[in-house]
Symmetry: C2
Subunit: 348 residues, 2 copies
Amino acid sequence: MTQPRKATIYDIARLSGASPSTVSAALSGAWKARRISESTVETIRKIAAEQGYATNMQARGLRQARSGLVGLIIPVHDNRFFSSMSQSFEAQARDRGLVPVIASSLRDPAEEMRIVETLASYAVEYLFVAGATDPDSISAFCNAAGLRHIFVDLPGNGGPSVISDNHRGATDLAEKLLAEKPDLPQEARNKIYFLGGNRSSHATSRRIEAFRAALTRHGTPPSPEQIITCGYAPRSAMREIAALMDRLGGLPAGLFVNSLTAFEGVLGHFVNLPPEAFAQSVIGCYDYDPFAAYLQFPVHMVRQNSNHMIEQAYALIDRGINDARVIEVEPELIQPRTIYKGLFGEMG
Amino acid sequence: MTQPRKATIYDIARLSGASPSTVSAALSGAWKARRISESTVETIRKIAAEQGYATNMQARGLRQARSGLVGLIIPVHDNRFFSSMSQSFEAQARDRGLVPVIASSLRDPAEEMRIVETLASYAVEYLFVAGATDPDSISAFCNAAGLRHIFVDLPGNGGPSVISDNHRGATDLAEKLLAEKPDLPQEARNKIYFLGGNRSSHATSRRIEAFRAALTRHGTPPSPEQIITCGYAPRSAMREIAALMDRLGGLPAGLFVNSLTAFEGVLGHFVNLPPEAFAQSVIGCYDYDPFAAYLQFPVHMVRQNSNHMIEQAYALIDRGINDARVIEVEPELIQPRTIYKGLFGEMG
DNA sequence: AGCGGTTGCACAATCGATAGTGCAAGAGAT
DNA sequence: ATCTCTTGCACTATCGATTGTGCAACCGCT
């Protein structure tokens, strides 16, 4: 109610008797370098506080050709893997005095590109792209625009990438599925299925490689029908698992679900099954969700270390690295029916 | 590689032979009003496209005193309720040609206030605040700064609010817990517990009211120890449920968990229990998570309609409403072991 | 040819902050 | 008292876009 419009350095200058440039220096912290006396600074600070002054970041950004913004593009918000990443990204951005802007592309390349352009328009200082659907176009654009960018989760060829060690994570998970229980004959036990994801994505193809290699090591290379890459949408995963169970007359000995979203779809089907249906099966999911860790049946989950991935990405930026190197971060296999300890580590 | 720096309207002006103001009009869409010929516009558009021109939003924002940004503050990202809200918020922001900026406060009032100030510095056009911890301070600041704001999930006194009908949702859930199974004597069956949240928050206090009223209707008003408001942190919820089960020698006949984060903590304890432990209990949780819908024991969940809440909030903005009215949106009780249909509705 | 009315565009001010530069007043040295 | 520094600050241009205003050129008409 004091003022309808926000106070500017000109208002503060008028009220304090100083010039706008002095006010700017006083409030921006540049006053020492500009030899403004401490007493003047104090006066100005007091008046600024009274007036509720706040720097107009658009003006500062325009003048400095910087914005103080960092962008992160993720496929979706409502997914534990990406929302955890958002949480880490935001915390680390703040630690650096940057303001995080997070946008979701819904895995649509056109939307993704539009977001990149929008964020560039706002002069974000760095752009993190998680789960990029079209990394090359993004790099082309960013390199032309002089925008530093870094890929997370899925790698790109036009800039540095931090991804998780998908081969390792998938190997661990596949071996787990093969090693666990069912008192089935060896051959039946090896008949495990891979479900979800997109073959053209780097992560999925690495995971499939690992899956295939694990089965091969165990003496029974998978047939093509054992690898069902039906995308990430819950609905299609639900359709596929239903069709598969129809064909097999029940669950396979093991199921490797390739993302939380696909897993949601799988659950959409499981919901109709009796508990006994799971007796002869082992279920695994690449990615972790604390609730999924306590379902009716045990689920082996791979927890990607999104916090560490973001740390590494910021570290690359700090080191001024712009070339197309790839850094891999180790994921962790979580025992079924356990809640990840880190979840409780830093709280209360 | 074309240019190290981004092209500006001055560059386009030089290349096209037009003046900067003409270029601006051509590219911003104002050319008709400014009587720029269509052929000139075409030429300019072509050159702009070649140069990869993109409007500098900081400059535009400075000049127009608008930014094209809308802010949303949520407590945390990695929670299904809030991340779903983010998803809705983002989609609806884009529909309006606005760029969403989402920040999390971690339920820290100081951090929350800092975020409000930061977003104000960037001249966001509207500010949505979900789960506000200190709504009055936010309103005071925003009203002084001329920043339109709206509360979601938790109401405020200094601006319009869209919240869910907590009393209704909690009544439905409490009645469900009271109605379900156990073949216990009436009195033991009525001994259900409320766990989590913060008494000083409006949502929690309304839910407690409803909880209390439901028990009273059934003839056994709750004793104080039946209502455990231990905040939202998983860790403290875990501690409290452990302590409670210690006191009771097992689970109570019913447990009303007051948030997903608290529920995570509860699961952290349940993880150590045998399946039989749940035989005589009914579990409910205020808020919905698709994975939680398929745990070892059935869980009754209340799904708040965050998408509709965001719609209503935008509608208030459109209608130019700034007073402190409160709009309530109906939540939905989800049957255990069902996956919310909407989850699959709009996908592939 | 002269006149009022469009067309199509250029000029210049402006948004708020920052940064290069210049200058008066005071301190210190001789 | 003069000269040289230093201190403390004001002036002014600038970032890139938008917008109010002015003005030639051209049109049709008389």
